[in-house]
């Protein structure tokens, strides 16, 4: 007997069809994984079940939950269902909690709006729930505020709010996407344990096929508002029917053709030596000694011309600070950074000739462009920093050339950034980096926000450009599977130090440092029994 049965679900917003003929079922004690790329309608399906669709949406079909049709339920009835019978967890733990209320109040709120229990009983349930999500109240008292917790801890609080009343169904929409791999692994196992102990049903929504493959009992693959394939996890992976599912699997394990190792010139391009970056901590009392936080601690490494080096580590390990220091945007307290023989020093003292040798591509392809500048103007911007600035015509020509090189049209230079998709935007960001022919491009989570199929295309493009232009990459990512397939050498960073360094293949197959081992263990992989089929 299934707990939730969705039949013929249709959703349209402002006349535009968003979901068509969605059929899903999930039973108690089981996990249904919904996988798909951005825009596939997987989150909308979740909102439709919760009846929390945006204003102006129309919904038809049946959502049978315990034999009641939620699609026909009144708003008052839905308020009874939400939080009590169906809980929901969202992607962004940093913003999902109200910053002005304590975590205890927020968990207790779920209890108190659904039952007439007193303050003491609500507190007892809150403490109990905190224990269930493995935040022992001794360490994490309910009087804490969200900003005092890390992302993973906040996500546990969000889960606690959703499961405080032991709902029959939990919907988790990309619950671990914003988190580090080790945190992700812990949270997924927590969710699985909750399903087992409470006989709860779980709908897990993710773009990551490996996460779904490891957690779900059944899978529904969505694309453009339609379920293209569904069935038990084993069945899906062993008898993959739909070409889209096949391509999704292929793209998520995509390995771009690497450069032959012999091509590498043995010439160091970037040399970082004993680099130290201290941040001054605020003093507790006026006469206290000044304390420092060492974000980058004696880091040394070399990137050769044309080499592709990965840098991995969890949030807060100092990756970003190191990147900023290399870019000359951060004062350092010790050590040296040399690019092509020239010292990199912070801020304006750096020569333009040196600065033009490196460029950076960031994670957020939309946020890193000025929305009011045309693409042509944005891409041409690095040219303005040159001492020998080319004239207007030459600039135009350079922009068009570089846009074509990254697979766009010369005519795109007249358009604005909002007219492009995420993948195209990242191509434009790469074009902007390429235009002054740098020797080093720092890719700071540059493919993390992209769908797997788009990611595969961008990785191919990057490898191709590296080969033709002799560009070295410093590839910073939290996604170890991408790092594994894309880089030649790997640096593992923890607490401001490089704890392991070596050939990527070697590090992955024989990690030396326990931390590297734990990172690799935490990476969800599509089980090989399934993957063999592919």
């Amino acid at each position: 007997m299934s707990l939730l049965t969705v039949k013929d679900l249709q959703v349209s917003i402002g006349g535009k069809s968003i979901l068509q003929d969605i059929d899903l079922t999930v039973s108690r004690g089981r996990v249904l994984g919904i996988v798909g790329e951005s825009g596939s309608g997987k989150s909308m399906t979740a909102y439709a079940i919760m009846r929390l669709l945006p204003d102006g949406s129309e919904l038809s079909g049946e959502i049978l939950f315990n034999d009641t049709d939620l699609a026909a339920a009144s708003e008052e009835a839905m308020c009874q269902v939400r939080g009590r019978s169906i809980g929901m967890v969202f992607q962004e733990p940093m913003t999902a909690l109200n910053p002005l209320h304590t975590i205890g109040d927020q968990i207790a709120e779920t209890v108190r709006i659904h039952s007439k229990v007193g303050r003491a009983e609500a507190l007892r349930i809150t403490l109990d729930t905190l224990r269930r999500v493995e935040l022992p109240p001794e360490e994490f008292p309910p009087s804490r505020y969200p900003h005092e917790l890390s992302g993973g801890q906040r996500q546990r609080v969000v889960i606690a709010m959703a499961i405080a009343l032991r709902p029959q169904l939990l919907i988790a929409d990309e619950p671990t996407t914003a988190l580090d791999v080790t945190t992700q692994a812990q949270l997924l196992s927590l969710l699985k344990r909750l399903v087992d102990t409470d006989q709860m049903a779980l709908i897990l929504i993710s773009h990551d096929l490996a996460v779904i493959a490891n957690t779900a009992d059944d899978i529904a693959v969505m694309r453009n508002g339609v379920v293209v394939e569904s069935g038990s996890t084993e069945n899906i992976f062993n008898h993959m029917q739909h070409p889209y599912t096949v391509s999704l699997l292929k793209a998520s394990g995509h390995v771009p053709e690497k450069l032959a190792a012999g091509v590498l010139a043995d010439e160091p391009l970037l040399v970082v030596k004993d680099l130290v970056r201290d941040y001054r901590l605020p003093r507790k009392r006026f006469f206290d000694a000044v304390n420092y936080f060492r974000a980058v601690d004696n880091v040394s490494f070399t990137i050769k011309r044309g080499e592709n080096v990965g840098l991995v580590g969890e949030s807060g390990c100092g990756k970003s600070t190191l990147t900023r220091a290399i870019l000359g945007l951060e004062e350092t307290q010790g050590g040296t950074i040399t690019l092509d023989g020239e010292r990199i020093v912070a801020k304006s003292e750096m020569s333009l000739a040196c600065r033009r040798k490196m460029q950076v591509v960031f994670q957020d392809p939309y946020g890193s462009f000025n929305p009011r500048h045309s693409v042509g103007r944005s891409v041409a911007e690095p040219l303005h920093a040159l001492e020998d600035r080319p004239d207007r015509l030459a600039q135009q020509k350079a922009v068009q050339e570089v846009l074509e090189r990254v697979g766009l049209n010369a005519a795109d230079s007249k358009k604005y950034i909002h007219e492009f998709s995420g993948g195209q935007r990242q191509r434009i960001a790469i074009a902007r980096a390429l235009i002054i022919r740098p020797s080093l491009i720092i890719l700071d989570e540059a493919v993390s926000a992209l769908d797997v199929s788009i990611r595969a295309q961008i990785l191919d493009l990057l490898v191709e450009l590296a080969a033709s232009d002799d560009i070295a990459y410093l590839f910073i990512s939290h996604d170890l599977s991408v790092v594994r397939s894309f880089t030649q050498r790997l640096l593992v960073m923890k607490d401001g130090r490089i704890v392991e360094e070596g050939q990527t293949d070697v590090v992955f197959s024989r990690p030396q440092h326990p931390y590297t081992q734990s990172l690799i263990d935490a990476v969800p992989v599509v089980p090989t029994v399934f993957a063999q089929r592919e």
């Binding site: 308020c79 269902v81 939400r82 969202f90 913003t95 999902a96 909690l97 709120e109």
Partner: protein, 316 residues
């Protein structure tokens, strides 16, 4: 928190000190000396000399500054040249009108703006949102002296509910006093309420779009509960800033309205003092207003910390 308050108080004191120096120097910059400026070009030298002595201008500048500041600290602002009365008394007389008037107008403005902003935000795009936004547009655009005159014509002349101006004094009773201040307060509140309602609406709309509102709804809170429990307090920070600014403005910015309603308030005092070149009065009242602005800012700072635990945290 106590350290934060102490730090804010120190910065408050420093701001006042700097302001007092600037105000004092501004008077020194006046060509010639204050006495001859006050008496005009045709004054007899003896008269000027007499006034200089009276004003205490015959001692050195640092000494004069010290006398002025130390006087203010004990409530002695000096003596008005034109009225021959202690300035502290004049200010006190005006404050009993200006302060309640500003408070009254602010209260009205908040009482109008909060519901208007909340309705407009929750029913975004609806007829009520459109009409509220239309009215606030008008409220900002209409000059408040014109609106004040319309109020006088309707409520004082035609309906005769209120008197057209003047102030009976608080001796006549609290009700009479409040009644006399009602029309001016409405006239003052209208543009302020319009601005505040718009700020409230946009701030609330931002907050209602936040992820934690969605979380609250997923817990089973109704849209209304989510608004009252989670959105409003988060939306208050920009609103508090505006309220703080408005209060200091209302305290001194009521010159025109005070003139229309013949209210002997602070605004009129400055106006008269300037036209009569009573520079000592100007100096003292300006200093007092600076104090009011700084004090209100201090209160708003405290309010921020009360509302937002992240700020309290950062202060520790």
């Amino acid at each position: 928190m106590i350290r934060y308050l102490a730090r804010r108080l120190v910065s408050l004191a420093l701001t006042l000190l700097i302001a007092s120096v600037i105000i004092f120097l501004a008077l020194e910059v006046v060509p010639g000396d204050p006495a001859s400026v006050m008496l005009g070009v045709n004054a007899q030298p003896e008269t000027v000399q007499a006034l200089r002595e009276e004003l205490g201008l015959n001692v050195s500048k640092p000494m004069r500054y010290f006398n002025w500041v130390s006087g203010m600290l004990v409530g002695d602002f000096g003596t008005s040249y034109t009225y021959r009365t202690p300035i502290s008394e004049m200010i006190a007389d005006r404050m009993v009108i200006s302060f309640p008037l500003a408070l009254y107008a602010l209260l009205l403005s908040t009482l109008i703006a909060f519901p208007a902003g909340i309705i407009a935000a929750t029913k975004r795009g609806s007829l009520s949102d459109l009409s509220i936004m239309g009215m606030t547009q008008l409220g900002v655009a209409i000059p408040n002296f014109w609106f004040a005159m319309i109020l006088v014509i309707i409520f004082a002349i035609n309906l005769q509910w209120f008197s057209a101006g003047g102030f009976p004094g608080w001796e006549a009773g609290a009700f009479a006093g409040i009644k006399a201040l009602t029309l001016p307060a409405i006239a003052l509140a209208l543009p302020q309420a319009s601005i505040l309602a718009r700020v409230m609406r946009s701030s609330l709309l931002d907050t209602l779009g936040e992820d934690f509102i969605r979380t609250a709804r997923a817990k089973g809170l109704s849209a209304r509960q989510a608004l009252w429990r989670h959105a409003l307090r988060n939306a208050m920070i920009p609103v508090l800033t505006i309220i703080g600014l408005q209060f200091s403005f209302l305290l001194a910015g009521a010159i025109i309205i005070e003139n229309i309603f013949f209210l002997p308030g602070l605004g009129r005092l400055i106006f008269q003092a300037i036209t009569q070149r009573d520079l000592i009065v100007v100096e003292s009242v300006v200093m007092l207003l600076v104090f009011a602005v700084v004090a209100v800012t201090f209160l708003v700072d405290i309010a921020y910390a009360v509302v937002d635990p992240r700020l309290r945290h950062r202060l520790q």
